[in-house]
């Protein structure tokens, strides 16, 4: 399976961005937040990627949030800004595809995930990319992610093919392994860098 839940959760302190004021999308020019939506076939490891990313704070047995399909994590960047990701997971089964617009509406970023061992999931990813291009916000940052990179002996989607597809669609592409944590932070850092900075102060 994509991510192991056996690792003990480290209790590293949170990023510390905890603004009392409840604003809408951004907080100020140095600290802003963004809604990020996860799309992809069921079983490609969408939620594992997020859990990996927030692992520092996430304890699988903790019951402090409503659930793991919504998680948030703050990332501090080199330019001393912080980005708080509010990550919305979506159900990937075919029968729920029509509901996706409810979730990606207003999202500042989208991660489209496929499984490098499953060509069908790559086809599905291309479907989501088209869908987002048609109906997503014009400024949405999109990332194409080939997950389960640790299973390279079973690879059936070449990284070159995916890379070319991503370039043609002006998205960035990265292969990750939620299991080994490979490239997980890089993925979110790259998205954070590409996000347009709020202009208001």
């Amino acid at each position: 399976m994509g991510c192991s839940s056996s690792l003990p959760a480290t209790n590293a302190g949170g990023g510390g961005l905890n603004n009392v004021n409840s604003g809408n999308s951004d907080i100020d020019s140095k600290n802003f937040r963004v809604k990020l939506v996860l799309l992809g076939d069921s079983g490609v490891g969408k939620s594992c990627i997020v859990l990996r990313f927030v692992r520092g704070q996430f304890d699988p047995t903790s019951k402090v949030t409503v659930g793991a399909s919504f998680l948030s994590q703050t990332l501090a960047l080199e330019d001393s800004t912080t980005v708080k990701f509010e990550i919305w997971d979506t159900a990937g089964q075919e029968r729920y595809a029509a509901l996706a617009p409810l979730y990606y509406r207003g999202a500042g970023a989208a991660i489209v995930v496929y499984d490098i061992t499953s060509p069908e999931s790559f086809n599905k990813a291309q479907y989501w990319v088209k869908e987002l291009q048609k109906h997503g916000g014009p400024d949405m940052i999109m990332a194409l992610v080939g997950n389960k990179a640790d299973l390279h002996e079973n690879r059936s989607v070449s990284s070159q093919e995916a890379q070319e597809y991503a370039e043609r669609n002006s998205m960035f592409f990265i292969e990750t392994s939620a299991k080994t944590a490979d490239n997980i932070n890089q993925l979110f850092e790259e998205i954070a860098k590409r996000l347009p900075r709020p202009t208001s102060s």
Partner: protein, 484 residues
């Protein structure tokens, strides 16, 4: 976990509401009270128009929140106190406007009926597999707990309280999924697992007027507070509703003909059920039919002790455990469960203008602890015994023997460990910016809060007169000091 900033932990929420009412009673709040009253009055002078009504409420709340700093009762308050006052205002205004704006146009009423009917039919044959719920995550017995949370939605008038019911339902589901994933050594559950269960639970719970409830939250929950985690889970139930509206054969992985046949069968079954009530013409399964008609009869009777069980058993008890007694052992397929009856009864009661009469024989219902004397103990104990006997008799009549009930209670209370503290989500409703650092609070206080609020609604209904009365604001504020 990130702490702090949790102005609306479930333990503080009732206090905040109490504080709000307290400040409203101060003479310095007179101007403030006048603005609210005149705003509410503007509604009685025009025809319902959801778009316009929603916009004007949102605008009013925004302006008033902005003006709080200038109002004497709130001058010099911290941001948290101001936020809390904003919550209080929203609840206050919407409780007043509820009858005027909830399901106020014929389209909404019609949609409610259609959705309710569709779910009544679907719930009779839908299976977890039809929605891609994996076997290791199937747990219909424990899902009853989630259904129960959702069914409370009609017990409240304030948008935040209704939203809490949805979030509590989601939280129970998530805890069950998480436990199942640990047991089966699977990945932690995400939306792939969550949404299907939420849809299933929604269909099985089938709370009346779901459509109107969702619209109401969308329109009247202050927009700046419907963000982040609360917004995510609210989106999930909107998405469940949308899925259910569009359910056909394909979306349940069955062929269309088969689907239509099942819908027809379900319709006949429901019609048969009501026909059975008329002529007691027992058909295929006399045993079940008999029991059903008894259920329906019980439901019609004027004995409200069961429906009011939750509100009056409030203090310090684990409410879900109480509820489980009533849910106990009812197969999910059963058309009317005890909880259905309870829910239906409670809804009817809230809409009943003769509520006062119904409660006349329960002299302690509106009593406060301080009002009681030692001499009341005997009479209270008698009432308690009567209540227990009636309840057990009723449970027996429904086909749940007391032994079964006890066994079920024991079993479900161990399930409860899995769904520990769903009330905590109320902090999510309130403090959206702090969703990864929701503080733990006392379950007792939280469920107390729920009891008190449901109770409060009943009280309001019986004790507070017409809302046109200019003194109502004060009356009501005076009437609920026990909220804390």
């Amino acid at each position: 976990m990130e702490g702090g900033g949790d102005a609306f932990g479930s333990s503080t929420a009732p206090l905040a509401w109490h504080d709000f009412l307290e400040r409203m009673r101060q003479p310095s709040a007179a101007e403030f009270v006048r603005s609210i009253k005149s705003f509410i009055l503007t509604f009685s002078n025009r025809a319902p128009d959801p778009e316009k009504d929603s916009a004007s409420v949102q605008e009013f709340l925004e302006n008033m929140e902005g003006a709080f700093r200038a109002h004497t009762p709130w001058a010099g308050s911290s941001d948290e106190e101001l936020e809390s006052a904003g919550e209080g205002l929203e609840k206050y205004v919407m409780t007043k406007l509820f009858n005027r704006v909830f399901a106020s146009v014929p389209e909404d009423v019609k949609s409610d009926e259609e959705l309710f009917e569709k779910m009544s039919l679907l719930q009779q044959f839908i299976r977890p597999e039809n929605l891609d719920i994996k076997p290791e995550y199937q747990n219909e017995t424990s899902w009853l707990l989630a259904q129960k949370e959702l069914q409370k939605i009609n017990m409240y008038k304030a948008p935040r309280d209704k939203l809490s019911c949805i979030l509590n339902c989601c939280k129970v589901i998530n805890n069950l999924l998480l436990n199942a994933s640990i047991v089966s050594n699977d990945n932690p559950p995400g939306a792939d697992e969550f949404l299907p269960v939420l849809i299933y639970v929604t269909i099985k719970a089938n709370p009346p007027q779901l459509h109107s409830n969702l619209l109401y939250i969308q329109r009247y929950r202050r927009q700046t507070r419907l963000v982040s985690e609360a917004q995510y889970f609210f989106t999930n139930i909107l998405s469940a509703e949308s899925f259910i509206w569009n359910i056909d054969g394909e979306s349940l992985s069955m062929n269309e003909l088969d689907f239509q046949r099942k819908m027809d069968w379900a319709r006949e079954r429901l019609l048969g059920l009501s026909a059975d009530l008329e002529n007691r013409d027992n058909q295929a399964n006399p045993d079940v039919q008999e029991r059903r008609s008894q259920n329906l009869k019980a439901n019609r009777s004027s004995d409200v002790s069961l429906s009011l069980k939750d509100p009056i058993q409030g203090s310090g008890q684990d409410m879900r455990r109480d509820n489980d007694v009533s849910v106990g052992g009812k197969p999910v397929e059963r058309v009317q469960s005890v909880s259905d009856l309870e829910k239906k009864g409670a809804t009817e009661l809230l809409n009943d203008d003769d509520l006062n009469k119904k409660f006349q024989e329960y002299p302690y219902l509106f009593a406060r602890a301080g009002d009681l004397t030692i001499a009341d103990v005997e009479s209270l104990l008698n009432s308690y015994k009567q209540l227990v006997v009636r309840y057990v008799a009723l449970a027996q009549g429904m086909g749940v023997s007391p032994e079964t009930t006890l066994a079920q209670t024991a079993q479900t209370s161990s399930d409860l460990v899995a769904s520990e503290e769903p009330e905590n989500v109320s902090s999510v409703v309130n403090n959206n910016d702090n969703s990864e650092g929701v503080s733990k609070t006392s379950d007792d206080v939280a469920s107390d809060n729920y009891h008190t609020e449901a109770y409060e609604q009943m009280t309001q209904k019986t004790a507070v007169g017409s809302s046109d009365d200019p003194k109502v604001t004060k009356d009501e504020a005076l009437h609920h000091p026990e909220n804390a």
